[in-house]
């Protein structure tokens, strides 16, 4: 059970005009702009739900994930995840969640992937039997047996992403945050990742929150969509309802792809 109530976060960003003179001036007197990354964000996610979290770049998706995973302390608001406040009980909370950052690797570059897995096992203090069981299951579902003995730097992006996902699940977390897990993947890898997430959710009842720019991820996986723009939750419901919302808008194209639909909505909502 994930609950966010009135989560707000403001960043201080230095701003200046272009040019050397401006740069020199900014060295001494800096003008700051306050950017509201999160503005009274409220939502709740039940255990076992799969939720797609969408929004344009810079809308506050990553900040929300950071708050929920305990990296970032918000300015205001409450967040309880299975009874804990993430930023207050960082370590305890970390044992229960898995986080995949699609743009960054958590594997050790120069050693075979299985070595990284073993170190992660020790970091999370997973006991031997559980580790073995998880590793066998993940190897089977993600087809890792061929690539596990290869150093991470020699893997293709798709292979590596499968390993990243496995690495985040070795400690059997009950919640999984996926931050753009399909970014840059080819069609085959995307399908494999989607199939796996679906299977994981069905087998283990893992709660999944997934941010993405690929609407096919959402339609394939998530019953429910959260749309964030300029730090506010603008929509919370099924993708079908989102489509309905679009159809009501003037000039809607009934044959619009999900991509076009979302783009039109972003435009309409001015986000």
């Amino acid at each position: 059970m994930i609950e966010l109530r009135g989560i707000s976060k403001t960043y201080k960003v230095a701003r200046r005009n272009a040019g050397f003179a401006e740069a020199a001036r900014a060295l001494f007197r800096r003008e700051y702009e306050y950017v509201r990354a999160l503005d009274e964000v409220c939502f709740a996610v039940e255990t076992g739900e799969m939720v797609g979290y969408i929004g344009p770049n810079g809308a506050g998706k990553s900040s929300t994930i950071k708050v929920m995973s305990g990296i970032l302390t918000p300015d205001a608001g409450e967040c309880t995840i299975d009874g804990l406040t993430p930023w207050k009980k960082r370590r305890e909370h970390a044992r229960r969640i898995g986080v995949v950052f699609g743009q960054r690797s958590q594997l050790w570059w120069d050693v075979p992937v299985v070595d990284s897995f073993e170190l992660i096992r020790d970091i999370y203090e997973v006991d031997a039997a559980e580790y073995k069981r998880n590793l066998e299951e993940l190897t089977e579902l993600l087809e890792l047996s061929q690539i596990m003995r290869t150093p991470a730097r020699q893997l293709s992006l798709g292979q590596r992403m499968r390993c990243e996902i496995a690495a985040s699940l070795l400690h059997s977390p009950s919640i999984l945050f996926l931050d753009e897990p399909t970014i840059g993947l080819d069609a085959v890898s995307k399908l494999a990742v989607r199939a796996f997430i679906k299977e994981l959710n069905a087998r283990r009842k893992t709660t999944v929150i997934l941010t993405t720019h690929d609407m096919n991820d959402i339609t394939a996986l998530c019953e429910r969509v959260l749309l964030i723009g300029r730090g506010r939750i603008l929509f919370d419901g099924s993708f079908g309802e989102l489509r309905g919302l679009y159809r009501e808008a003037p000039g809607a194209d009934p044959n619009a792809s999900s991509e076009e639909l979302v783009a039109a909505l972003y435009k309409e909502m001015k986000i």
């Binding site: 976060k9 960043y11 201080k12 900040s63 950071k66 995973s69 305990g70 990296i71 970032l72 302390t73 930023w87 960082r90 370590r91 305890e92 970390a94 044992r95 969640i97 986080v99 950052f101 743009q103 960054r104 958590q106 050790w108 570059w109 120069d110 050693v111 070595d115 990284s116 073993e118 170190l119 020790d122 970091i123 999370y124 203090e125 150093p151």
Partner: protein, 258 residues
Amino acid sequence: MRLYFKYLGIQLRCQMQHKGSFFLNMIGQALTSLTTFLGVYFMFLRFHTVAGFTFEEVLLCFATVLLCFSAAECFGRGFDAFSRMLGNGQFDRILVRPRNEALQVLGTNVDFTRLGRFLEALAVFAYAIPKCGVAWTWDKAATLLMMLVCGTAVFIGLFVVYASLCFFTTEGLEFINIFTDGGREFGRYPFSVYGGRVLKFFTFVVPLALFQYYPFLYLLGRAQHWWYCLLPPISLLFLIPCRFLWKLGVRHFRSTGS
């Protein structure tokens, strides 16, 4: 602690993958310090003593500081290269893992090539220990060991200060190098040769002299007080403000997210 050794293991395996660069780096590290050593050597070709210390005595001092520094650089590399970790988001990953942040930073980056200097320091020790005219007794050997352990800890403390400041400035602040690299270079000679003010600074502010100068005098039998041999552990007090600064930095990071 067990986890730390696991980290060491994986780092060693990583670095041995590129054995060419591993050994070349190691030799390179040793060579750069060799020039420092030659600096001391040529100084003593012209002058037979420096501020009352003989060549062999200074070598003992030189080797102590070099050994401490290289060990600190090898094991504390995570803090030394911390600005990179902040930049590429690795620190976010550390925060979503259920372990102590500092331990993970230490474990994420261990640079075994720095042991090139370490080996060089050992070689100088091998020469200086029998020749420096110290009548080695158990208590003196223990003092030397304490100097080495505490010295390494103080240098790591300096790296922690350096890393903590990165939280506020994002870029590393090179001025801290005055105390780390500078400490290593100054530390070739007992701190008293630089005059009273420098000695006071390195006693009370950045306590390099507590593991270098005072116990060193004790080894040579020139200490005014017997308790000089107990000063190295006192230098560990320096780690308290370091730890505080680190905690402050982590808190700042978690409230600004950058």
